[in-house]
Symmetry: C2
Subunit: 456 residues, 2 copies
Amino acid sequence: MEVSRTLARFVVQSRYEAIPEAVRHEAARALLNWVGCAVSACRHETVERALAALKEFCGPPQATVLGRGERLDIMHAALMNGMSSHVFDFDDTHLKTVIHPSGPVASPLLALAEHRPVSGAEFVHAFVLGVEVECRIGGAVYPSHYDVGWHSTGTCGVFGAAAAAGKMLALDERQMTWALGIAATQASGLREMFGTMCKPYHPGNAARNGLAAALLAQKGFTSSERAIEAPRGFAHVLAAERNLDAITKGLGETFELASNSYKPFACGVVIHPIIDGCIRLRNEHNPAAELIESIALRVHPLVLELTGKQAPQTGLEGKFSVYHSAAAAIIHGAGGEAQYSDACVCDPRVVALRGRVTATVDPAVHEDETYVTITLKDGRKLEKHVAHALGSVDNPMSDADLEAKFRGLAEGILSSTETDRLIKLSRDVERLKDAGEVARASVPAGAAGNTRAKAS
Amino acid sequence: MEVSRTLARFVVQSRYEAIPEAVRHEAARALLNWVGCAVSACRHETVERALAALKEFCGPPQATVLGRGERLDIMHAALMNGMSSHVFDFDDTHLKTVIHPSGPVASPLLALAEHRPVSGAEFVHAFVLGVEVECRIGGAVYPSHYDVGWHSTGTCGVFGAAAAAGKMLALDERQMTWALGIAATQASGLREMFGTMCKPYHPGNAARNGLAAALLAQKGFTSSERAIEAPRGFAHVLAAERNLDAITKGLGETFELASNSYKPFACGVVIHPIIDGCIRLRNEHNPAAELIESIALRVHPLVLELTGKQAPQTGLEGKFSVYHSAAAAIIHGAGGEAQYSDACVCDPRVVALRGRVTATVDPAVHEDETYVTITLKDGRKLEKHVAHALGSVDNPMSDADLEAKFRGLAEGILSSTETDRLIKLSRDVERLKDAGEVARASVPAGAAGNTRAKAS
């Protein structure tokens, strides 16, 4: 069975017109979410330290580090943006494979688009194909590949980056096959790294290495043409079980991007129904924290298993506390990165309220479901049943939800005018003459090294 | 058991004085062999295509591409030199693990040494430690890791690169542990790539990625501190069986570099006894090819299994022909890359002689052994029993052999004066004030971009 070659041929022969409108729209939604995530973490110490370490080795200023003034060579820009977009674990998720698909694919594409301008339509086309490739390969080796310890956003993302960049570079079939091969032999990323800066390094690396794969293949750098399916190829070496059919079956008929999902809240999905319910109660009744006697949660068993921390001390620990998450949602009406800052986790008002939150496990409650009951000091009860949390398969975030999330992510980095413009450019990416505009619009006027700022 | 941390501590605390003199001498031998290999392939299309693809993204001219005029940022210099040194499969081999140890370790070190000058003694110290780390990790997962399809020169080389570069950067224990972790999560390289340009890409990538790991760790980029031994760490995810004790047992008491070996001939080791025997007969009797009636070889069974090609058409096919190898050795007195060129394989004199070579399998003959009998047209018989081929464990290449090999490798690229100087610098590397001199001395006066040439 020719897997690598078949996949390469599909990418090379794919025509823009054959991509369904709904899939192209999903690409714009994914782009908006990805840009927001990258901008929000652009000053995080993960990015600062990586820049401090690598800056003196970077090439010419070809592409933007999103949200910042620096421009780096496209390899390093792809690395930095792939990394920053995953720092807060707030990027998109392809639920069937737990791959975070946009980081490895959008990062090299946008960097390349700044260096060799392409239209928004070409950008969207390459993006859709890159996501298709990484998710199909991920699907073929899921779950054994993930279970043994591979972080598939890294190991499969590199294929997506190579395919997307290769499409934009107009590789021919043989070159595309090589690009997939050069990607395969760079596949890496261990789940052991979760909780360290190496986790976001994975999509960054995938982005950079996949981009290099496409550029090398373009110049005739050879590789195996059976890199995915051969006995010593990717699928056999990195997974105990595999279903290679899943890679080639129905290519062009279905699109993996259609089952992409977005997180409304900056923490693990198990807490999402609780935050969703608390925010809805707040929006409907606006109960002052001081007037709340207790908050009772009825939750799926995983909630306490994974996020049962009663007294978190840091922002990161807050992500593993359903108690903190509920209290912060009632007080702030949000579950963004700000609600998982050290300051918020230690805020006396939040600490006081979280002490009045109780959670009861109920095996009848589904993973995306919860029952929230607020008892006020005057005896009144406010109740909310969340059947499907916002962002789950049965209740996806709307375009308006994604824009609201974006505004939260950009806060403190972009002005509201800049935010509006970047939302518009991302949402309308398909109609742009020059897709690279999105990258340049992510840089605030005041950022050091911003040439727009300097010129004014 | 603390494996990563223990290994990191060993590297950080190691003192130059504790490295035995014989091991330091072996480092100089390995350096000489590695520089020769890199110089010999510096104009190979593998390097040309990689440079063509990546050059426009390179950073400042910080380090030398060995044998060439270009200077690249240290990351890309490490990539290119790690790659070129493995192109001809002529670099060194750590026999216990089949790792080619020098490429991934010397490449980042020499690039770094040009950017942040260090003494030859510091260079040798870091080199010895890098080889120690990659070979010990390789030993812990051998053979299951290799058998399943990993190219350990890539997957383990990245640890060696990180440790060596980290030593030169004077990382502290925690930073060194992170560097090993950042290396672990980049470990990659599939044996499926053998026979393509991706094979030499593996040590190049290992060199570059390990160097990045050390630089990132230096700036506080965090990683798992149990990256090798954790259940989702390197040894468990990339190998079915492992012996973690082998990594930490007797650290500092034995040195893996002591069991390094070098290839005298540019082909698979199974043909080495035959080439060795033919060259010795030629040197002793100098029989003209036209006067040879037949050449009869008695060989180990693997020789015909792996290299039984009777009528090779290309240089590469010649490497899989014991018949061609014997004929070329008699006519040219060598088994270098020149004897595996298309021209040599198609040379009518060589073709005619190879038709008179016969090989008989004898299970009593060892892998490093052979019996060669040349029958001359006048009826005389010339016989040679090679008990242990040159370059085998029991008959290592002498310093003079390595110098002769180097001269063959540098031929056509460096003048004899330049060759002499580079041999002297490599051999005496421990006494250099500035180890980077070795890199600069590899560039011929006429090379484009060579500043020495321009200045004169």
